[in-house]
Symmetry: C2
Subunit: 358 residues, 2 copies
């Protein structure tokens, strides 16, 4: 069956496939569907208040008895910088005018605290089997609390240097996030988007550098790519975009339509939506302001200035200001329930393993 069983044993899953947490897009139902098909379902709690995280975890637990993963962000909190936030808003002024909206004043802010004491307490009580982090790891005392209650810890690396740091600081599993991946890049030691390596180059170099199991992420949407990353030395695959068209996903209809029309070179890594590099389908924002702008406020402040624009545009059926998160394998996403997608991924990978052995 699977040529590498380390993750199966470490995480207690039947298949070494992980649903990417995709905050705001993964529902408890989608996560449960992956768990119930033998994979590791994940929910993204990064944008939730602690009480909502408790409820999301409880709901997932009511839908599956299998292990699952809960994901948090470990970003450095944004520093208020009124001048920068006002300048960003001013850059959007023509769009506000075009849509007949008043420019907000002062610039709107949103607060997105990184994983901290309150959320750590949620984890200590809920004790999910696996906790994954994006943008590094929490401070040592918080990480120690997560590990003390028995959670396996995973985090994303976009370079070999980041993988070595994560291993040295306590990650049990490294998620090697290739440049193909949709959504936010986990970059936390490097900032240069142009030099981010693709999965085919990154995975074997991370595998050679670390001793812990490596999960490949980025560009994986069918059994062929799963088999490929095992050939590269990965012990598992994390898959996101391939689940965005599942009926259980919270993907909005306009986003689904955009995904259905996507192609392999329809995405860019852009910081114009959140202030951090993230892969999304090309749209008016990425074309006219991005893909990379040196003027964005710190993560996640650019989002606040877009809320009004985006809502008005979406009412009119436009995704001009919507972050249409997607990876480069988006065209391979299938419109099937999460359990069926998972089973197809497993069967696709296993049939490739058989084919390759001749």
């Amino acid at each position: 069956m699977w040529p590498d069983r380390r993750l199966i044993e470490l995480l207690g899953v039947e298949h070494p496939l992980v649903l990417a947490p995709m905050a705001g897009f993964v529902t408890a139902e989608l996560a449960a569907s992956v768990c119930n098909a033998g994979g590791l379902g994940s929910i993204g709690c990064a944008t939730m208040q602690p009480q909502s995280a408790i409820e999301a975890i409880e709901k997932l637990r009511s839908l599956t008895s299998k292990p699952f993963n809960v994901n948090f962000f470990c970003h450095i909190p944004a520093q208020a910088n009124f001048r920068r936030e006002q300048a960003w808003l001013d850059q959007l002024a023509d769009y506000y005018r075009e849509l007949g909206l008043d420019l907000p004043s002062p610039p709107p802010r949103i607060d997105l605290p990184p994983f901290g004491d309150a959320m750590c307490t949620v984890v200590e009580r809920a004790r999910p089997d696996v906790v994954s982090f994006h943008f590094g790891l929490p401070e040592p005392s918080l990480l120690a609390r997560v590990k003390a209650v028995g959670c396996r810890v995973m985090s994303s690396a976009t370079t070999v240097e980041e993988a070595l740091w994560l291993e040295a600081h306590g990650a049990d599993v490294i998620i090697a996030q290739g440049n193909e991946a949709g959504g936010h890049r986990g970059m936390f030691m490097v900032s240069e988007v142009a030099s981010q390596p693709g999965s085919l180059a990154l995975i074997p170099q991370v595998v050679d550098a670390v001793g812990v199991p490596v999960i490949a992420a980025g560009g994986i949407a069918d059994g062929r790519a799963i088999a490929a990353v095992f050939a590269l030395g990965a012990a598992g695959a994390q898959i996101g975009t391939a689940y965005l068209l599942c009926p259980e996903a919270a993907t909005p209809p306009l986003h689904r339509d955009a995904l259905r029309q996507s192609h392999a070179d329809a995405t860019v890594v852009t910081n114009v939506f959140s202030g951090r590099p993230a892969r999304a389908l090309v749209n008016r924002m990425t074309r006219e302001i991005g893909p990379i702008s040196a003027e964005t406020p710190e993560f996640p402040l650019p989002m606040a200035a877009l809320v009004g624009l985006r809502a008005k545009a979406e009412q009119q059926g436009s995704t001009d200001f919507t972050p249409l998160w997607a990876g480069q394998a988006a065209p391979l996403a299938r419109e099937m329930p999460g359990e069926a997608v998972t089973r197809a991924l497993v069967e696709g990978a296993l049939s490739q393993f058989r084919r390759l052995s001749g």
Copy 2:
């Protein structure tokens, strides 16, 4: 052995591995070493005069009786644009001063004609088994002459759209060039570097779109990646950077040193050396002028303005102005003769196929 034998049969090789032509870096000796180990050796004639191409092909034929590939460029010739060329030179003025060099006047030019009648006559006489093109295909009458003498024709696609165009216009094999690849990107229908897909996403989407065999290129430097691209549906792998440290390669010593110190995120796609996007190790030019500049003259004119700078800097042991072509898997390149590298690649791939079958 190999899970896909289409290329073995089509090209008459023992192993479906192609040495990337790497004009200026591949010698007849290196190409022959790959041929003699059962792969498809290639020589890059794009920068040669017809007489030099004849001699290079004759030399290769004296070193091997196996099939080989000869590569040419099909770019649109640069239009003279004095103002743009002068502006480019002016951008380099501080560097000239720093190195104690006079700024050339008028801006120096170099002529790099695309594949045309004279080179087509060389091909008709030499009749290599395989001819590959970069930047599209030559005009139909030239392509017909190449095919009329029995050459198999290959060309590179960086998107699904380009792959479909190449198949429709007569390519017998598509080289799917992932974003990881070193050197010039084959882009001929698209110009946006930021949306170029990585191999893991590109290869299966190209394989699904075309009927001809697909060779994967980009990020492949050991048997793991070769096995991976076969899992993705490729019928072969083209490998470049992994051969740059071979003793038979013409890689200059400073370039070799830079490759030895490289890492997975040490490269960028840049147009500052040639006017076309190409992957190279980050250096002073890519940092200070690039990686992408909107001001470069057309391909290959920026190179002319760099000749003097580069020569002087290299005399002083500096690669500040040298295009250090390299793919993202450069750290996996091994310092062994070409035949040994090829055998290691074959054995590495075959052992992965066995491992994956459990």
